[in-house]
């Protein structure tokens, strides 16, 4: 049984001798008879996330169809519109910084793991806090029983960070801290800990994520209503620009939209709209766009569809440059160049046959490198679907980035896939669709409004359900899940486990601290935080004063809850 063969070129003027005509001739004379005898292995070939049709062959005719213009669409590396990369020499001078996610347990546990990672050749670390911390609770709060130190570092007071920062700081180029809703508290603790340890804050880059708007969109670790969340984030941006200008005060973690199944168009559009909400709020603090824009960082995941991922990264660079220039009138190259960090996505990894994930990670890391990895690449670990990472997995994950960087040659010439008919056509299509979606969100009133009405959340909920159906109904094959399944598979991989005693010790520590410190001074410092919250003055300085007196993380968040209230979205606003 055969089915209709795709028409390669619909162009009516296609005639013999022209490329379009020749492509049509090839299809009719050579391909069609072959396909009639050898039917295609799928009813439809589509890209993984966008489900856009993939043609059997791309030629220069496709570039013409999307209006591709080399100088306008690509230009040159290090020059507007930066499609071919923000660095003038790609990765030939400097490779991306290689990092991995870490963070669990008590401060000294985190320090031990972080030292191990630095010894494996990693130069950047990501400090993930546990869920009680990111949701603004102390370890001894009854609400958080069983979660202390499990998904990241338990941060109750400055004491915990003093322990965690027992590190060879001279090897560390880059520290990223993920703690969004209680960001002024986290920032204050880091500044105070560095001060106590005598570490020069200028010797490395502290990169705080500060990404509360994405928490409301899909991650869920919010505390206060969105409008207050945005104000708090802006306080941190303002404080860092004025006091630690070499640090990175804001990241747009597209890499959280992507696991929530944002397709590349939604991912670019929602993340850019969110970035613009922070930019607008920061500009209101009296900065200009050429000062503000260079502080924005994006963390972007790549999934298993190699070309969708690569084209998305190329489109990201170009769209940022266009938005900064066309909408904000930015002029400095630093404002027009997106700062990006890339990562293979964890959602491509399987619980089944976990060693297969090493293969997946290598392919996705290669896609990141080919798409222009950015300043930094972080790799998740192959056992992540199971539990928190084990040491062997950390070693393999670190080696994997070195393999991509040094053995494959993908980092040896700049933007090596440029000019591929498929890659350029898809890059341009993603750019066009994303710009249209950005306009749509702006017409709604921007990202804050889109969150408050649940537009982002419901759009992602639909994608989640549809993408899962594709998998279950076999439209997408996933090895170990719905293809090449091992019956009765036994798990054979090392798993790291935090132990319950750790929680008890952490609870004892924070309780002991509260009885030891100057509680009269702490109460006054907490009142100063409430006052700043009410007055609209910057929250970071009063938080810094309070953490130095060992006010706890939960106490500081409670002080802000007293003024801002808490966010309790209904199902329409969660997308579930």
């Amino acid at each position: 049984m055969s089915r209709p063969v795709d028409r390669i070129q619909p162009a009516p003027e296609a005639s013999q001798g022209t490329l379009a005509g020749e492509a049509q001739r090839w299809n009719d004379a050579t391909r069609a008879p072959y396909v009639a005898a050898h039917p295609e292995r799928r009813a439809a070939f589509v890209t993984q996330a966008l489900k856009w049709p993939i043609k059997p062959l791309y030629t220069p005719v496709d570039l013409e169809a999307v209006g591709f213009d080399y100088l306008k669409d690509l230009g040159f590396p290090g020059e507007y519109p930066y499609t071919r990369g923000t660095q003038p020499n790609g990765h030939r001078s400097n490779l991306w910084t290689m990092s991995q996610v870490t963070g669990f347990g008590k401060g000294e546990d985190w320090a031990k793991r972080a030292r191990y990672m630095l010894e494996q050749g990693l130069q950047g670390l990501i400090l993930e806090h546990d869920l009680p911390t990111t949701n603004g609770y102390d370890s001894d709060n009854p609400l958080v029983e069983g979660e202390v130190g499990r998904a990241g570092l338990a941060l109750d007071s400055l004491e915990d960070l003093e322990r965690a920062f027992d590190l060879p700081f001279e090897r560390l180029k880059y520290l990223m801290s993920v703690c969004n809703a209680p960001q002024p508290v986290n920032l204050a603790m880091i500044i105070a800990a560095l001060e106590k340890k005598g570490i020069d804050p200028r010797q490395f880059v502290l990169h705080i994520v500060n990404g509360i708007l994405i928490e409301y969109t899909c991650v869920g670790r919010y505390i206060f209503p969105p409008v207050h969340g945005l104000r708090i984030a802006t306080d941190c941006i303002e404080y860092i620009i004025r006091n630690h200008p070499n640090w990175a005060p804001i990241s747009i973690i597209s890499a959280q939209l992507q696991p929530a199944r944002a397709n590349p168009v939604q991912e670019i559009a929602f993340s850019m709209a969110i970035a613009m909400a922070y930019i607008d709020a920061t500009l209101e603090r009296g900065f200009d766009i050429d000062t503000v824009a260079p502080y924005f960082h994006f963390v972007i995941n790549v999934d298993m569809d190699f070309f969708e991922g690569i084209c998305k990264l190329r489109a990201y660079r170009k769209i940022w440059a266009r938005l900064m220039k066309e909408r904000y009138g930015a002029a400095r190259p630093a404002a027009l160049k997106i700062r990006m960090m890339t990562s293979p996505t964890t959602i491509a990894l399987t619980l089944q046959q976990p060693l297969n994930n090493i293969g997946r990670l290598a392919i996705m890391a290669t896609a990141c490198a080919l798409g222009g990895a950015g300043e930094n690449m972080t790799t998740p670990l192959h056992d992540e679907a199971h539990a928190l990472p084990a040491e062997e997995a950390i070693r393999v994950g670190a080696a994997l980035q070195h393999i991509v960087a040094h053995e494959t040659g993908v980092a040896d010439t700049i933007d090596p896939l440029a000019g591929s008919y498929y890659v350029e056509a898809l890059t341009k299509q993603i750019e066009t669709a994303a710009m249209a979606e950005i306009d749509r969100v702006m017409q709604m009133g921007g990202a804050l409004r889109a969150i408050e009405t649940g537009y982002f959340q419901r759009a992602l909920g639909r994608e989640q359900y549809e993408r899962n159906r594709d998998l279950e109904e076999g439209r997408r094959k996933w090895v170990g899940v719905n293809h090449l399944v091992l019956p009765g598979e036994k798990r054979q991989i090392e798993i790291f486990r935090a132990d319950n005693r750790m929680e008890e010790e952490q609870v004892a520590r924070v309780r002991a601290l509260r009885s030891r410190r100057d509680n009269v001074a702490v109460a006054a410092a907490l009142e100063a935080v409430r006052e700043a919250a009410r007055q609209g003055s910057n929250l970071v300085p009063p938080c810094l004063a309070a953490v130095k007196l060992y006010a706890t993380h939960g106490e500081l968040c409670d002080a802000m809850r007293d003024v801002f209230g808490v966010h309790t979205p209904d199902s329409q606003l969660t997308g579930v």
């Binding site: 546990d130 869920l131 009680p132 990111t134 949701n135 609770y137 009854p142 609400l143 958080v144 029983e145 069983g146 979660e147 499990r150 998904a151 899909c218 991650v219 869920g220 670790r221 696991p259 929530a260 199944r261 399987t350 619980l351 089944q352 679907a385 199971h386 539990a387 928190l388 909920g461 989640q464 359900y465 899962n468 279950e472 899940v481 719905n482 798990r491 798993i495 486990r497 935090a498 319950n500 309790t568 979205p569 209904d570 199902s571 969660t574 997308g575 579930v576």
Partner: protein
């Protein structure tokens, strides 16, 4: 009084503690609704006490908990114990998410009938619940 088989299976889906990963529970909620079940979602950051209370108030047949942090070894058994203590031990308890295989005996012993780990086909969950429901209805009919 309506026929017992005419009653739709009522399922409470819950997220306990600080774990806010919702993709799995969103997909399961959609799939169960599509299969004709009634699905109630607790919202995020719930305590075992609040979920037990909601399960009893809403008179659900099934309580499903999604867990993607490592807190499941404490909070899930606690929920099961609270339900038993409040005379709601007949409700079917299921769980899903990132749960290592070696924790399965602990959860089974606590009263969780099935644990669906990451990557489970939602049709398996639907089939399992339908099977359990028809057995439960048959047992009810036999008792009457």
């Amino acid at each position: 009084m309506s026929e017992p088989s005419a009653r739709r299976l009522r399922v409470l889906l819950a997220k306990l503690g600080m774990d806010t990963h919702t993709v799995g529970i969103t997909v399961v909620a959609h799939a169960l609704r599509e299969a004709g079940m009634e699905v109630i979602f607790t919202g995020l950051k719930q305590t075992p006490e609040a979920v037990a209370k909601a399960a009893i108030q809403e008179d659900v047949d099934v309580v499903g908990v999604s867990s993607l942090s490592a807190g499941h070894t404490r909070s899930l058994p606690k929920l099961a114990r609270l339900l038993r203590e409040q005379g709601a031990g007949e409700k079917l308890l299921i769980a899903g998410g990132v749960i290592p295989e070696e924790d399965l005996p602990l959860l089974q012993e606590a009263g969780f009938a099935r644990v669906f780990t990451m990557g489970t086909d939602t049709r398996q969950i639907v089939d399992y619940l339908r099977g359990w429901w028809s057995e439960r209805l048959a047992a009810d009919v036999a008792r009457e």
